[in-house]
Assembly symmetry: none
Homo-oligomer: 190 residues x 2
Amino acid sequence: MTPPKDQFIHEQSTSSDDRILIVDDNDVFANVLANSLKKRGYKTIVANCVNSAIQFAQEESPGLAVIDLKIDTESGLDLLQSLKQINPDIKMLILTGYSSIATAVEAIKFGAIDYLCKPADADEILAALTQQKESSAPIASDPPSVGRMEWEHIQKVLKENDGNISATARSLGMHRRTLQRKLQKRPVKR
Amino acid sequence: MTPPKDQFIHEQSTSSDDRILIVDDNDVFANVLANSLKKRGYKTIVANCVNSAIQFAQEESPGLAVIDLKIDTESGLDLLQSLKQINPDIKMLILTGYSSIATAVEAIKFGAIDYLCKPADADEILAALTQQKESSAPIASDPPSVGRMEWEHIQKVLKENDGNISATARSLGMHRRTLQRKLQKRPVKR
DNA sequence: CATACCCTGCGACAAAATGTCGCACACTCA
DNA sequence: TGAGTGTGCGACATTTTGTCGCAGGGTATG
């Protein structure tokens, strides 16, 4: 219901700020995100590897980009630089499940506008991309509770480990017993 | 915004790159660090509050600065901007025990050269300040622990609420007392 | 200047969650 | 068949929360 902007974005130089390049080697994730963004009135371009991302950037010159940190064996950080070279005005954002302070610092240095951790919903991503800091901020609904956050994260890692509870616990640095108990409990509200 | 690209800095204008301003409300820590840096041939200036830091920056115009994220009740993030105004060429670095991606992103955006977590030794700090670091992409192999995830999420929401603890607790559906306790604790590693 | 509100730090104590050990049992691979 | 790994779960010591409550600071407002 809410078309993108309504303010002062007339001069959008050569690139259009309503075309978003999504780069993620996980097709499912990329497409889900693409659809969410489309619903909000943006055009999306999905790339699942660095090369096609670069190609699309040159051909379509999107004004915005959402990039995974780890694209197969390649680094989203490197891609940041490539895209910036192609279009110095592009607004990029790193979105990752394997976040770390070190990579966040590098990402920003390389010109990323923000660095978000999965899971992040489309609204959050758009807010970061369009840098809608404050002013009229209609206070987006409450953020997920910490419990919800934890649950999501556990589920994600669990799937990465093919449901192996022991491996998940190790990877998360948590005791298997505790993980078991958490899994038995509530999917957590809110 | 910070133009991430830059290499040769011959003209070091008015400021000298061998004078380091250290800002930390913990005198013990500040002095220990100061001594370590002195041993390595640098001149140091220690400030334990925002005001004196600004004053020293104006009087001594140091070329480098190591700033704690939390200086008593004030934010090192704000100080970054003040110092940058006084001397646009200053190379600043945030050093904190309460690190988070949210604050790291802001620090870099505000012009910090790097963002390190305590404990960090003098060599590490110098390497970052003089930008001698190997610029590789150390993408994590394990996902963040649930504890880390929680910490990051809390920090993000806290930032959205301008540091208001009560509001953050409400928005997170968590008890204020509990939030306070979590914030006092150090963020978990990994 | 009194009053009302909201935020903050922190002590105290019971309730709930987690860390740890340990054991039984299933399954797979060489 | 033995070694290695995964799973479910009981039991119990520790920790971490949930709650109350109080005191102090800051800020509007009548």
